[in-house]
């Protein structure tokens, strides 16, 4: 019985961990899509300016 409960608990912990990872990956994907959506509203010049601020001048 004790072993059965241990395995049950282990199984639920693993399931929670897998679910959390899946949700985090979904969140990252949604955020990336959102970033793409808003960045696509900018002109090429504005995107270049943003690139230069982020990565330094060439």
């Amino acid at each position: 019985m004790g072993i059965k409960n241990t395995f049950k608990k282990l199984g639920s912990v693993i399931k929670k961990s897998i679910d959390k990872t899946r949700i985090e990956n979904e969140r990252k994907e949604k955020l990336r899509e959102l970033k793409n959506k808003y960045l696509s509203k900018l002109s090429h010049r504005e995107l270049v300016q943003m690139y230069k601020w982020a990565f330094g001048e060439e």
């Binding site: 679910d19 949700i23 985090e24 979904e26 949604k30 959102l34 900018l42 995107l47």
Partner: protein
């Protein structure tokens, strides 16, 4: 012919031919190592990494790089630097909304938050407070649509201030925005963010007008994804066919849509 006595001789011959596996007298195999020039690790003299000229990158490439490498906060700050404050705020709102949804999911998995009965426990008191403020529109008499439209802006300003006061009883985290736009064609009259929930409000004069009714249905389709609940305030009676259409949408989208008419709340 006599037989040769080959046994001794052949065994000695065999001895010279057979090499013992661990015979250390053997000359080791010579492996010729080709000369390879190993570059120096002196960073001071190391060749500089080629910098990418962003002007030569296409728009799509830039979007891909920036969305991958920058965090949402960095993009938000950059939008402000580009003087795109409205876009930045809308972006931040959507990011916060996504984070709230997924934080809630994670909290549910961890067992920290019970699955809430949205209508009864959380949204109902908020909606009741909102409706008590919006009913004030029926105290004013409008003879036509133009008069209503002219007064609408002032009503929205008044309602926003009173909604903030009324809802502060329920939570200190309140944000009331007027004329929220998610598309170029339309704007939502008011959007309230409270306790992580977002409620959209649209105020109409007369929904028996087919054009107005269709426009409202379009607005519900556009703005419901941004909201947890939606309130339609109509100065005049709402036709029953429209009520049915809206209730179908409520079931399809799985989000609460409340209708406030002069004599009832649906």
């Amino acid at each position: 012919m006599p037989k040769r006595k080959t046994s001794q001789k052949s065994s000695s011959r065999r001895k010279t031919n057979v090499r013992e596996p661990f015979d250390l007298t053997m000359e080791p195999f010579r492996i010729e190592v080709p000369k390879i020039e190993i570059p120096s690790f002196d960073l001071a003299t190391a060749p500089e990494r080629k910098r990418i000229n962003p002007n030569k990158l296409s728009r799509l490439q830039l979007i891909g790089i920036l969305s991958q490498k920058l965090s949402w906060k960095e993009i938000y700050d950059a939008l402000y630097r580009l003087k795109k404050e409205k876009l930045a705020e809308k972006f931040k709102m959507e990011v916060e909304r996504i984070n709230q949804i997924y934080d809630r999911k994670i909290a549910e998995i961890e067992g920290k938050v019970e699955e809430l009965d949205l209508q009864n426990k959380v949204l109902k008191p908020i909606i009741d407070e909102i409706l008590s403020v919006l009913k004030a529109i029926y105290r004013v008499k409008f003879s036509n649509h133009n008069e209503f439209q002219n007064t609408l802006k002032n009503f929205l300003i008044w309602s926003s201030e009173n909604l903030e006061k009324q809802l502060s009883k329920l939570s200190s985290e309140i944000k009331v925005e007027k004329e929220f736009s998610a598309s170029r064609k339309d704007r939502l009259d008011i959007i309230i963010t409270i306790k992580g929930w977002r409620i959209g409000i649209e105020v109409k004069y007369d929904l028996s007008n087919q054009a107005e009714a269709k426009r409202l249905l379009g607005q519900i389709d556009t703005y419901l994804p941004y909201c947890d609940a939606f309130i339609v305030v109509s100065y005049k009676q709402i036709p029953s066919w429209l009520v049915n259409q809206i209730k179908i949408k409520e079931e399809e989208k799985g989000k609460m849509i409340k209708l406030l008419a002069p004599d009832k709340i649906i």
